[in-house]
């Protein structure tokens, strides 16, 4: 069975400092992993995805994530936070097949707060 744990419900950083949002997963197979961002009153937007190619994945807006199989982790990082990064972030694992299609499982989300 697949599951996702986002280790922090809230992360607070100052503008210009690094961002680390932590995600651990469990999966019976080789999973696909995703990070999405959700700004207030909007839908989710894909930041990046891992699908068994390079373990370091680069996404939009300067974000990247590293897949570590031994640690079952897929943490999201950014070297320098910007005020516009303040949003809710979701880690997603997808390896459960139903009707021939993959069903994603979402973490509970991490709210990123950026202080000026």
């Amino acid at each position: 069975a697949q599951s996702v744990t986002q280790l922090d419900s809230h992360v607070s950083v100052s503008e210009g400092t690094p961002v680390l949002l932590r995600c651990n997963y469990s999966s019976s197979y080789s999973p696909s992993l995703f990070w999405y961002v959700q700004h207030p009153n909007k839908g989710l937007q894909l930041l990046l995805k891992y699908t068994s190619a390079a373990t370091l994945v680069k996404g939009i807006n300067g974000f990247e994530a590293e897949f570590k199989k031994s640690e079952t982790s897929f943490h999201l990082t950014k070297p320098s936070a910007h005020m516009s990064d303040a949003a809710e972030y979701f880690c997603v694992v997808s390896d459960r097949l139903t009707g021939g299609s993959y069903i994603p499982t979402f973490g509970r989300g991490t709210s990123l707060i950026v202080h000026p």
Binding site: N41, S94, I103
Partner: protein, 114 residues
Amino acid sequence: DVKVTQSSRYLVKRTGEKVFLECVQDMDHENMFWYRQDPGLGLRLIYFSYDVKMKEKGDIPEGYSVSREKKERFSLILESASTNQTSMYLCASRDSKTGNQPQHFGDGTRLSIL
């Protein structure tokens, strides 16, 4: 660019009413999803459709049904609305032709049941 459109951004209904939430995608995607989003609980899958007229229950289907008569449209139905169905509802679509692709989301419908 893929566009997923949800018919209403905000909706207020009364207990016991039958409520329809509509979702349309313009990219010929096979898969479509309905989620509800509540603070601290993330996104929970209500129903999933892997193709026209095909549907599967998600993790929290009780009190909901769905309809997918055409590929581009996926409707969520609250048969008899109750106050505990007040929530943000998100629709998503996905291409299933080429492996495990990301989902594309609408902007959500914030539903209040009074």
